[in-house]
Symmetry: C2
Subunit: 218 residues, 2 copies
Amino acid sequence: MAGTSRTRVQHFAVSLDGFGTGVGLSREAPFGHAGHKLHEWMFATRWGRQMFGQEGGTRGIDDALVRQFSHGIGAEIMGAGKFGPPGWHEDPDWTGWWGANPPFHTPVFVLTHHPRPPLEMEGGTTFHFLDAAPAEALAAARDAAGGMDVRIGGGPSMVRDFVAAGLVDHMHIVVVPVLLGRGVRLWDGMESLEDRYDIEMVASLSGVMHVMLARTGG
Amino acid sequence: MAGTSRTRVQHFAVSLDGFGTGVGLSREAPFGHAGHKLHEWMFATRWGRQMFGQEGGTRGIDDALVRQFSHGIGAEIMGAGKFGPPGWHEDPDWTGWWGANPPFHTPVFVLTHHPRPPLEMEGGTTFHFLDAAPAEALAAARDAAGGMDVRIGGGPSMVRDFVAAGLVDHMHIVVVPVLLGRGVRLWDGMESLEDRYDIEMVASLSGVMHVMLARTGG
Ligand SMILES: NC(=O)c1ccc[n+]([C@@H]2O[C@H](COP(=O)([O-])OP(=O)(O)OC[C@H]3O[C@@H](n4cnc5c(N)ncnc54)[C@H](OP(=O)(O)O)[C@@H]3O)[C@@H](O)[C@H]2O)c1
Ligand SMILES: NC(=O)c1ccc[n+]([C@@H]2O[C@H](COP(=O)([O-])OP(=O)(O)OC[C@H]3O[C@@H](n4cnc5c(N)ncnc54)[C@H](OP(=O)(O)O)[C@@H]3O)[C@@H](O)[C@H]2O)c1
């Protein structure tokens, strides 16, 4: 490990039944049948509204926690399923969901079996496409992060892979009081995680529950 | 519906990954590989300790909520998997896990494909064995409850069946910060439940999360 650089999952949203995304993902529906359900709480915060150039928003615990998103982060790793809808790699013009100036402002490593040349965006975000095992990808991201933390950006499949590989130091999961019934589960394959992580849960008045998992002694 | 009699799930415990019991259920392990993990929080309460004839215990929100267990309850319905370990119906002497004086003190309807004659225990508990659809079982339990509420006692499979049949008015689910990885899931098949229930979550200092689901307008 490079000094005190940590790997962090930031405000990853799941339904009460544990799904991090729905079914039927497409260009029109980045979360499938989940629609906006997993992130309404976030768009109600001041930080969430600022992301869309809007005024107002809440200043409570939800807002305080989402602001950790970029604090101390030097790079992100994300899965191909977060970067674009199924089939994005067949579209040479696809540059992600986030427009010309994505909200990352750091190098972002996109794990994919269909790598392409790096994509430099406005505002400091460069997408690097990587066909590599989680530990290799993390080594690359740590290098790029210059001693800062690495965000494990999701979706649920790649978070599970990184947890299974023992590569995640901290997870902030937001349980939203909706039941998706179908989709991609976050918690699968994490049996006895409580033996390796301190787990703390706190409810927000907005109705969501923040779950913090911190590697024990980490 | 018979007057104001309601159907209630009381402090049903699930792991963070949504399992209401583990795998490998047996006479020695009523929750399989889950061991005591799902209920340690309850045995720390004053009410939980009293159940075992012990002094002390916490008096906070966990204790207050578990005390709802018998308040206003006139009957319980439980699944065969709660009444005994796999194969209990082949043992004519099996009378449940709870000794001579079970903690129910009302009629209890055990749903099973292997019915047997009623079993009258000490302290007011009588087990009735019923091979019937959820709605029929509820009608029988309501009759026996004399206008009081009916507890939907679990396990997870029968709770799911009763929710799917639209027969549950209130659920108090306790999310415990452990990951079981395997077992019987509670939340499956409840897609869009938030459209029909008000959902409230509150964290306890003990580390568990209480989730209250109340039928909207109910
Ligand atoms: N709930 C939240 O807060 C949250 C956060 C982020 C994203 N999401 C949502 O999650 C969904 C995507 O999640 P997902 O679980 O389906 O997919 P994902 O984790 O984003 O990506 C999985 C895919 O990434 C590629 N990949 C992963 N590991 C790799 C490796 N080691 N080497 C090479 N390629 C690798 C593979 O795609 P290929 O084989 O196709 O290249 C794999 O199928 C989207 O709906 C997104 O909007 C939700
Ligand atoms: N987490 C908690 O708070 C909590 C609470 C209660 C129990 N539990 C645990 O949950 C586990 C049992 O749960 P489970 O989901 O496996 O089983 P369950 O829900 O207790 O029982 C399901 C079984 O009941 C019988 N049954 C259900 N509906 C019926 C119907 N309409 N007609 C006839 N028979 C019917 C069937 O058994 P047969 O065909 O064999 O008769 C069925 O396999 C145990 O480990 C128990 O300790 C946990």
